[in-house]
Structures are given as C-alpha cells and as structure tokens.
Assembly symmetry: D2
Homo-oligomer: 300 residues x 4
C-alpha cells in the first residue's frame, strides 16, 4: 500500500517504522527534520508538506499532539484535505476530543473521504513492538477496510462504534484509570500509615473487591510490584502530563454534554499538583507522592 | 469446641449457624429474642447476657454493628471481660476502627485474653454459604490457633499482621472499592452520554488499564453484567449505607494519623448524597444514579 | 464619537442603548435582525457585517458569548481587522479566556490597533441602568483613552493592568464567588439540618469570620434575605449556566498555567449537577438544592 | 459570684483571668500544676479535682480540648456532676460536637443542672483582651442568667437558640470559613500565576461579589494585607490543626444527620495536607502554600 504518514513524534515514529517493516510504501511529513531523516534512512520518502505527503496515497495516517495540530494539517495551507484523492481513508491516531473528531469527519465526508479515529494504548514500548491496541471509531465497512493497515502497527484492533467512539473509549478508559490510580495511592498510603505491610495489603486488594489494574499490575507503592514504575523511581511508563492531558479531555467533553465528573475533576487536580511539584515527566503513578510522608518518600 | 457467640444480626446469625453445622457447641447472646430463638431451634444454648455466654467458653466470637457496641459487650455490666476465663481468645468480626481494636486488645491482654480482629468480606450470601473471607489481625501463634474456628465460617482466612491489621485491610479495601465504583460510574455515564454503547465501553475497560472488579464483575451500568445488582434494580448486594459507614471509618482513621484521603472524602460525600436521595438500602453501585440523566434512569 | 458595536445580546443591547443615550453615533451589527431593529429604532445605523460596522469608526466595542465568536468577527470574512482604520481601539467586553485575549491583542497590534479586554459585572440590570463595573486590561495610555467610552455604559471603570488582566480579574472573582456560594450553601443546609434557625445562623456568619457577599447580600437559603433570588424561587440573578461557563474558563486557564484549582473544580461539578438537574436557567445560588432535603425543598 | 473554672489551657487561662479581674471569686482545676499556679498567683483558689472545684460554686465554666475531656470531667471519678449543687448552671465553652452537648445536657438535667454550650471565637488574643464572641445555646431564661458571667470574658454574647445551637453556629461558621479561605487561596494563586498583581486582584474581589472576610481582612497572599498572618510568615492567628479539628467536627456532624458536605470534605483534606506538610502550627491561611509554586513561596 502507498501510505502517507504525518506526525513522527515519540509514538508516530515507531508506528511509521512498523508500517515500513510490513512492506508498505511510506511518504512522511514532520516539522522535525531529524525525525524525518530517521524514517528516510529506513526507506521512507520525505516531502515538505502534509499536502505533498498525501498526493497519490491510498491511506493517510496522522499522529499528532492535539486537535489544533490535526486541524492545521487537515485544513491548513497545502494541507491534507486540499490534496488527498477522493475515496482515500484518513486514519487519525491522535488522542483528541470526540467533538473535534466529528467535525473533521464531516469536513472529510463533504469531499468523499472517510475519516476514522483510532487512538492507541500501549505507549512507546507497544508502538516499537507493534503491540498497540487501537480503539477504532468508524462505520463498519470502513473498519473492515482499515483493519489490515492497523494490524501492521498493533495487536488488538477494537471496533468501538461509529466515528468518534474510539476517542470516547480512550478518554473514558483513562478517566477511570486516573481515578483508580488515585484511589489505590490513597488506600496503600493510608494502610501503610496505619501499620499494615504494603505487600500484604496489595495481596488483599488483588484477591478481593478492591482489585484493579492499578493495584495488581501497576501498584504505585514502591517495592510491591518489581516491574512497575513505582519500583524504578517512577521512570518510564505513562507520563503524568499525558494523564493530565487525557483528564482534561474527559472533563471538557463532560462539560460539553452537561455531565458531572466529580471524581475525574478531583483526580485532574491531584495530577496537576503532582506535575506542579515536578513529577510531570514521571509515570503517573507518582501521584502517590502526594500521600506519602516526606521521610518515607526520601527513604525509598 | 465450646464457643460463645455474641451478635446475631444479618451477618452474625448465618455465621453462628455455620459453626453449629460443623459440630461446635454454641452459647449465644443477642438483644433480639427472635434472633436468639432461630439459633436455639438449630441447637444453640441461649443466655441472658454477654457475660453469661462466655462463662466456660473456649472461644468467644463477636459480630456487632460498631465500636460502641463492642465496647459495651466487652466492658459493660455482666460483660465479656469480667466473665471470660483467662487464656480464652476473643475473635471480633465486627468492622470497626483500628484504634478501637488496639484499645480492646490492650484491655483483654491485661487479664490474659488474646484479642483478634477478624472482619469479613463476602456479605450475607457468603456468610450463609460459609465462603466468607476473614482478614485477621493477630500474633502468629494466635492466628494459627483461631484458624480452625474461622474455617468453619469462611473459605479464605488471611493473616494480615498483628492485631488491628485485619481492620486496616478491610477499611483500605473498601476505601479503594468505593472510589473505584465512583470512577467506573462516572466513566460509564460519560461514555453513554457521549454516545458509545455501554457494553462495548465495558469491554474496552475490562481488557485494558481501566480494568477493575467494579467494572468487570459488578459494573454499575444496567444491562452490562446480568448478575450484577445494576441489572436487578440495585437490589441485594452491599448496601450504600454500609459503604458509607466504611468510608467514614477510613476518613476518620486517616484523620487520626494525619493522612489525606482526597478521593475517599469525595466518594463519601457521593454515597452520602445517594443515601440522602433514598438509595441507602440499595446496593452501593446505585451511586451511578447521581450521574445518569433522569430520563435514562427512568427508562431502564 | 463614531462607535461600531458588534453583538446585541442580553448584555450588548442595553450597553449599546446606553452609548446612544449619551450622544454617541452608533453603527451596529448582530446576526439577529430583531436585535438590530430595536437599536435602529433608537437611532443606530445597521450594517450587514462586522467589517461594514467598523469602517469609519473611531472606537469598536464587541460583546459576544465566547472566544470563538470574537475570533470570528475579528478575523472572519468581512471581519473587523480587515476593515478597521489603523489606530482605532477595539474594546472587547466579552468574558473569554486570557490566552485568547493576548492572541487577539497581538493580531490587532500588528496592524496598529490597540486591543482592550473589558469584561463586566453587574448583569443585565446593571447594563440597563448603566451601572456596570468594567474590569479593564490595557496599557495605561489606552486605559485613559477608553475611560470616557466605558463611563457611558458603567459606573466603576477599574484598571486591572496590562491587556488580559481584565479577564483574569473577572475569572478569579467568579471562581471565588462560585466556591464561596457552594460553601455557604453547605453550611446553611448543615446548620438547618442540625437544628439552628437559618436566620440566626446567617446573622452569626455575617458578623464573624464566615462573612461573605454570598452570605450577607445573596444568601442562598430561602427567606433569609428578602431581596435575594433564594427568596424569589431563584428567578433572575446570575444564571447557573453562566457560572458554569466562568468556572470552566477558570479551570481551563488554571490547566494552561499548571495551577491546581481543587475547590474550583469541585464547585464546577456541583453547578454542573445543578444544571443537569434542571436549574441551568435559575440563579446560581440554586446550587443549595443539592444539599437541602426533598421535603424541605418542596415545603418552601 | 463563686465560679468554678475547669481547663486552664491557651484559651481557658486568659478567660479565667478575665473573671478574676471583674471581681468574681474563682476556684480552678487543671492537670497542669504550672497553669494552676499562674491563676493562684492572680488570686484564684486551687483544688485537686473537678469535683472539688464545683463544691459550693454558683457557676461552673469548662474549657477543654474535646468531647472526651468534657465527658471525663463531668462523669469521671470525683467529677462535676457528682459534686455540683442542684440548680447550678454549667457553661461549657469547649468546641465539641452538638450531639455530645445534647447528651451532656440530658445528664445534667436529670439532676437539676442547666447545661449551656458557649463556644467562642476570637482566639487567644480575644481571650486576653476580654473581647471574645460567645455563641450560646441555652433556653431563654438560662441565657438571660448566664449573660453577666459571659460578659466578664467577652464582648458579643449571642443567643443562638436552644442547647446545642452554640456549637452548631460555631461549626457552621468555621466550615464556611475553611472553604472560603481555600477558595480565596486558589483564586489569588491562580490570578498571580496568570499575571495580575495580587493587590489589584484583592481590590477587585473586595469591592465585588467575591468579597469575604478571608479576602478583605485576612487575605492569605503575602503582602496584600500587612496585619494578616500571611504578611508575617503565617505566624500567630488560628492554627491549621484547629481548623482541621473544626472541619472534622463539621463532617462528622454532617454524617450523623445524613447531610453531604462536598466542599467541606475537600477543604478538610487540603488542611490535612497542609498539616502533613509541616504547617499544622501555622495560621490556617498557610493552606495557600499548596497552590503557590516553590520558587514563589521561597521568594517571599
């Protein structure tokens, strides 16, 4: 397939590499020359604008930091919509708000281009290994068509419903993740302060009604799970500032539909505080530092 | 064994029946004559005070609504401590604050009686089926000794550490449970309002980082899990007012050790509102009603 | 003065009338023909675009619902910036985020037009009476220059600092207002539930450290202050949905500068719930209905 | 008058001195010999138990840290109730929960002693100057009778209603105070981070709907009000740990009557965090440190 790929950041670059590896022909665009060069070295063709990238392409994939960037590469000067061939499907893997997705899909539809939202989970590690999960919002026929492209980059390709539902799924998942991690942080810290061994407490939670991924796979208390960021100084993992972005999308989407998100709004402020305290680039489970005493935090 | 059992409420009665069934000899006390009579019919001996119950007993089990009740049967007129034989172990299965447990254990220790906190999870169903989980706080030797008694009433007997840690484990588990259920309620409601099918959203959460018992086993959105209270009008299950009690224990215990519990305090207010709205006797997952629109709530 | 006025809604219309009354010459634009006709009847000249309104104007005043609308009339086809004479000052009285203000001011500056943010407080009543407060962000010289125009529409013209600070002042005032009203609602309801006469409690607060405008001038408990919306079924006043808009601006502005707003985020969710419960068009003090029991709410 | 005074702490000692100064005859009891000696030096008579203090007294005044202490001096061995003459009024100026007040009043009533709750505001400074405010819960006749005693210690003697309402008034005032101070801290910090001069912002709030005692008299931002603790390193004033105690009383009282206190529960966690961060003995307005950036906090 001839694929245009726009956006070669931490996630986009390994995804583009994965497409190359599976034999697709790639034309790439990014503002960073260095990012582009690494793909060229791997066999991609470089061009100087999003519009140039999509001319002649059979599929378009975008992976960008926010809705403003997507809008810009779609509708800006020498942009995608002005240059893409009719009928070509545009797959946006950025994490953005569902309302923008619907707007972009409408714009694309007026000129005959299907638009698919396909945000991912799995992080840079999953992107490099080709094991990402794609949450896909698309009409059924379009979903069937794009599956083969997505399978080159990921392991689980989940159809969430019509266009926009991929973003809804991702936002809601990360909303509950941010809240649950906050709750596990609170309970683990309270338990330790009250005098139970954190490993024993974790064992209780994980075999009982308190069980969650945040506790049994990614426990925020240092030393409970050796492979978790908490046991490695909160390095790596899913950055606090990215969790903060996703909780912002959740609370803004909630506001747009008049839905309260009490726990989500509080969680957002906790991660905001964690970020303000200097943990923005650490794994989001570092939010537990708000709860543990200074002496404990220092001691480990 | 000759066992004294004090407190024959919704939980205590089936636990006492389970002890009888496994062949123990039981002397029981409760303020309710009716509750006592049901046990007598099953073979227990009735007496007129906690003190009378424990005279000659080899073990004492108490199962009461709050710390005040435990204090009263322990230290009140014709109470347990004034009548129990030295060396006899007192097992308290009530859910109360860890500080009270330590105080009671000290009182008992001065007269040579080991005191064990052994709160349960599993609800009235688990009590009737003998499949409760006991979270036990006790010295190792005492734990070994009481295991056989507890095994008559439950399936999992977990040693959490020294006296008091059983309550800590239970409180911390229910703290994280109350928070997580609140978070799942929020995310499921937001997703539905934004337009994703709740069953699909649930599927995404349960195979991703948003996974938790509150989502994959007990989802609060009606129709997602057929066996969950949400699909049966929130009847049965774990009552909102009991969750409220446990979150109150968590926030008071946190205050006593100077530990913040932001998410827990907010969750407590959400269940408080749910209770004030008339849901106090419904399953705690009815908290989702705070998030779903009136028309939806009516429709299902 | 020849003044162009764009945006003749609930607030804009009476402000435009006030300018006419003080002898200014007005050219007006609004999407609503009816709104325009009422101003024409009072002596204004109507035109068919923002651009047409500003041609030949000595001052431009805009009063619009959100930043998107301001962007559109400024930069859209036949917009203000493409048609305004160099040197003419643009006064925007809309309530929008400070970041957008700075962006608009930069755009205007590149073509030699000072841009002033001048959001108001005082509501539609104040607009009709010409007693609005203007919170003005502008360089000192520009502030001195626009004062005479603003004095035709308001009583207090406050210089808050450089461009953008008018919005910051308004957002921060309404942030603290929304929180304080929530707190007074909670305390008045708790006091009543515990058994103190709400009028006596209000008297205590107002002469003590609990004193605030939300308590001594606008108390949310019915019957405490006769002139407050609470004593008139929460009609009139400052609408819940407008408070919700302003708290949204506050939390988004906070996110943009990495500042936590715990109380503000929670207050936002409370007003969101109040709005979802059908109180969106009532005065924001109706948030107290979340705290008062159904029977009480009905009884009064 | 012959007055028995029990509890000579930071507040009790200056209150007892004020009674001596106005010519009353005082018999005092406290566990601290040093506290007792200072009163003896000023003319009081010392005794060795609460019971001994009240024998022959015409009034009893108690000023203690918590409900447990009040219970102990009332009902403990050689306590007040066993020794006080029938008809003598007991005035408790401690800040405790309204439910305990009602219980103590019932106990006292059974033996013919009126019980009055009369918590104070005004701090140690007000106690020393004799300018305290007393919030009094008492039947009308009892209130009339105790006024002369209270006027020796305070300036404003406010009748809040029947017994218990003095505590309700105090708890509700401090609930709204804790919330409002949190809100002002948030808005002042946000304004400063967005770029407005804190003194200008304070001026806007204080002449607008954001006005409150927390802003116009006790602003938490350093340098805004010279006489406020914020401008003196948060020394003196009303300690964070005392605000924490009062918010704890509010949330527990709310729980007892099934009333949600969302903002109060969040405020409690904020002061809890402030205390855990080492600010427990600083003025409660130090809660603003949670919102200001480290560099700012250091800089001032």
């Amino acid at each position: 397939m001839k694929i245009a790929f726009v956006g070669l950041g931490n996630m986009g670059a390994p995804m583009a590499h994965a497409l190359l590896k599976t034999g697709h022909s790639l034309t790439v665009y990014d503002q960073s020359q260095r990012a582009v060069q690494l793909l060229v070295d791997a066999g991609a063709k470089a061009v100087s604008s999003p519009g140039a990238a999509v001319r002649g392409a059979e599929y378009v994939v975008t992976m960008l930091p926010g809705a403003g960037h997507v809008r810009s590469v779609l509708t800006g000067p020498d942009g995608i919509l002005a240059n893409v061939s009719p009928g070509v499907t545009i797959i946006d893997s950025s994490t953005i708000d569902p309302a923008s997705v619907k707007e972009f899909a409408s714009l694309a539809a007026t000129q005959g281009n299907p638009f698919v939202d396909a945000p991912v989970s799995g992080g840079t590690g999953g992107a490099a290994a080709g094991t990402l999960t794609f949450m896909v919002g698309a009409a059924s026929a379009t979903f069937a068509e794009v599956t083969s492209v997505l399978e080159a980059m990921g392991k689980n390709i989940v159809h969430c419903g019509d266009v926009g539902t991929g973003q809804i799924a991702k936002i809601c998942n990360n909303l509950v993740l941010g809240i649950t991690m906050g709750g596990v942080s609170e309970a683990m810290s309270l338990g330790a302060a009250l005098g139970i061994d954190p490993r024993i407490l974790s064992g209780i939670l994980n075999t009982s009604t308190g069980r969650s991924w945040s506790s049994d796979t990614y426990n925020p208390y240092p030393g409970v799970i050796q492979s978790a960021p908490a046991s490695k100084g909160y390095a790596g993992g899913f950055r606090t500032d990215l969790m903060l972005k996703d909780l912002g999308l959740a609370s803004e989407s909630a506001r747009a539909v008049g839905q309260p998100v009490f726990m989500g709004a509080l969680a957002q402020q906790l991660y905001q505080t964690s970020s303000a305290n200097g943990c923005g680039r650490l794994d989001f489970s570092a939010v537990i530092k708000l709860y543990r005493r200074p002496e404990e935090t220092t001691a480990r």
